[in-house]
């Protein structure tokens, strides 16, 4: 390591403070703790260290080396090169979101644009500046609903088609709420219709949570469903895949109260699971109960347009003990990536990418349905993901597929034991028709090896 002090510099400094050697600086530390044996290997050069790290990294397979049919909440999409080059500009690249309006107009405007895009995409009136990921956004929606009814409604109804990890996150958030019942996801049927949830909705229900497309990839219109839940006075939240909204009816048109989602498909790399982006949009009537940050557009005293944080004073800064959520920050850089991605693609571009996903996934499903031992069992309209019943356990199949440089689909039996041998297959625009054909034939081969 380069240390910018020569021996004469050091002895001059030591002399100044009246010490003989650097060791004297440590004489207040008890002797037996002074120079512990750290059991570390010999020091190596930067060049060697870099090579060591590279060798370790090369042991991994990434989606650059393999065809990826894994989804289940995080998807391998193509990310235009401009996304990275814009978000790594010095003006934007910061670990923290600078909120001071005097010095942060660029960042605040970017967040405002992000909010506007998410509100438009979801068909909702207001979006916050984002949460950490789809799971925390879902939990914050439950927090909003719980406090909206001031704890008087103590039942959450969660769909079996809501991402299992989001359900776990909601349960973690609400540990210790002894009177709270979280129900709905233990429906014994393999892939139940969400209309079954309506039987559980009563006057104690604070929120009903569904997903669109759901965890099994299925899509449906929730308009009537929402009406029926609203008859009981409960709120409806829907977790979305924003990519799918490029071609599907926005959930705002169903009349839902809250839309959350995982923003990762919008130009954010898989990166071993994060950082991702939590989308959160709602109706204007809940804006005061919205967790996180909200940027508003205003004018200064000379009438010039400007951006500021708005509606934050009450709970997070002043009545902290009464705040319903502790989240005061957002995913600044990642939200910016989504903003850049959406701006680059535009409305039609996003629709095109969504259609590519839809068409390729449907092509794959058709190919599988022609085979004897495979069956697409998520028997309803789907977006880019479907449930494939295989002749062998998915774990076994996926291990074998590695030899074909294929990352197979998600093993549903991990979260749903009743879905034995069921693979959740995700098909994105990142694979070609030839890739899909190769996947289908490889899967057939490993099952009949």
């Amino acid at each position: 390591m380069f240390i910018p002090h020569s021996d004469s510099d050091k002895s001059e400094m030591l002399e100044k403070i009246g010490l003989k050697s650097i060791k004297d600086l440590f004489k207040d530390v008890p002797e037996k703790y002074r120079y512990p044996d750290l059991n570390l290997p010999e020091a190596i050069s930067e060049m060697e260290a870099l090579q060591n790290l590279k060798d370790l990294a090369d042991v991994n397979f990434s989606t650059d080396d393999m065809l990826c049919f894994m989804g289940a909440g995080a998807y391998n999409h193509y990310i235009p090169a401009a996304v990275d080059s814009i978000i790594t500009r010095g003006e934007f690249l910061t670990a923290y979101t600078p909120y001071q309006p005097e010095v942060s107009q660029g960042t605040l405007q970017a967040i405002f644009e992000y909010q506007s895009l998410i509100a438009a995409l979801t068909g909702m009136e207001v979006s916050n500046a984002s949460h950490y990921d789809g799971a925390t956004a879902a939990a914050e929606a439950c927090v909003l609903a719980y406090h909206n009814f001031r704890g008087k409604r103590n039942k959450f109804v969660l769909s079996k088609g809501l991402h299992p990890q989001y359900r776990e996150t909601i349960q973690t958030y609400f540990q210790g709420y002894e009177n709270l019942k979280i129900v709905g996801f233990d429906n014994p049927s393999q892939m139940p219709n969400d209309d079954d949830l309506l039987n559980l909705v009563d006057l104690d229900t604070a929120i009903v949570y569904v997903q669109y497309p759901d965890f099994f990839g299925r899509i449906r219109d929730f308009t009537k469903f929402v009406e029926q839940v609203h008859e009981k006075g409960a709120l409806v939240a829907v977790s979305v895949n924003p990519m799918a909204l490029g071609m599907l009816k926005p959930p705002g048109e169903f009349g839902v109260d809250i839309v959350t989602g995982e923003g990762q498909p919008l130009g954010i790399p898989l990166s071993f699971g994060g950082p991702y982006l939590g989308l959160f949009a709602t109706k204007k009537e809940f804006v005061r109960k919205l967790a996180g940050r909200l940027v508003g557009e205003t004018v200064d005293k000379e009438g010039r347009k400007g951006y500021v944080l708005t509606l934050t004073a009450r709970e997070q800064h002043i009545r902290r003990e009464k705040a319903t959520s502790n989240i005061c920050t957002n995913q600044g850089l990642i939200a910016l990536a989504a903003t850049v991605y959406l701006s680059l693609l535009g409305k039609h571009g996003l629709e095109q990418v969504a259609r590519l996903n839809f068409d390729k996934a449907h092509y794959a499903a058709t190919q599988f349905n022609q085979l004897n031992d495979f069956e697409v069992v998520s028997n309803s309209p789907f977006f880019n993901e479907f449930v494939l019943k295989c002749p062998l356990p998915v774990e076994e199949i996926n291990a074998l597929l590695l030899d074909y440089d294929i990352l197979g689909g998600y093993d549903l039996s991990k979260d749903y034991p009743e879905l034995e041998n069921c693979m959740l297959v995700a098909v994105t625009e990142a694979v070609s028709k030839d890739d899909i054909d190769y996947f289908v034939s490889s899967l057939q081969e490993v099952c009949h090896g």
Binding site: A313, R314, E315, I318, R319, K322
Partner: protein, 130 residues
């Protein structure tokens, strides 16, 4: 603005007006002037809620601060002034009139005895000014 003689006052700057067994609750002129311009109001109770003396009934947010309004009396909530949700400016302009907040059916009228008269409250406010 003078503190009306027909009201009783709490140390937490709410006023109470009793008619029969019903208590009407609002915040005083002193309270609104300390808060300055009110920008938001939220009711924390609903009709038929049973509340105890000291319970938070309303949250006020001004350009300067946020504060809870607590009930100086116990009882059952019988009415909310819904018009305030849209016209919270009247809290600043007419705190003792149009800006009443909650009506409560008293469960323990003797609680009124612990409240201040207009003169006592005026003196209490003066003390805090100096």
């Amino acid at each position: 603005m003078k503190n009306p003689q027909d009201l009783k006052y709490a140390k937490t700057d709410e006023w109470v007006k009793v008619e029969g067994n019903t208590a009407t609750i609002g915040v005083s002129d002193y309270a609104q002037s300390q808060l300055s311009d009110i920008v938001y109001l939220e009711f924390l109770v609903e009709p038929d809620d049973e509340i105890k003396k000291g319970a938070s009934i309303v949250t006020l947010e001004s350009v300067k601060a946020a504060a809870d309004v607590s009930s100086p009396v116990s009882g059952r909530v019988v009415a909310l002034n819904d018009s305030l949700s849209d016209e919270f400016e009247s809290i600043n302009t007419d705190p003792f009139g149009k800006a009443w907040m909650v009506k409560v059916e008293l469960s323990d009228p003797s609680e009124m005895d612990g409240l201040m008269s207009a003169d006592e409250y005026s003196a209490f406010c003066d003390d805090r000014e100096h």
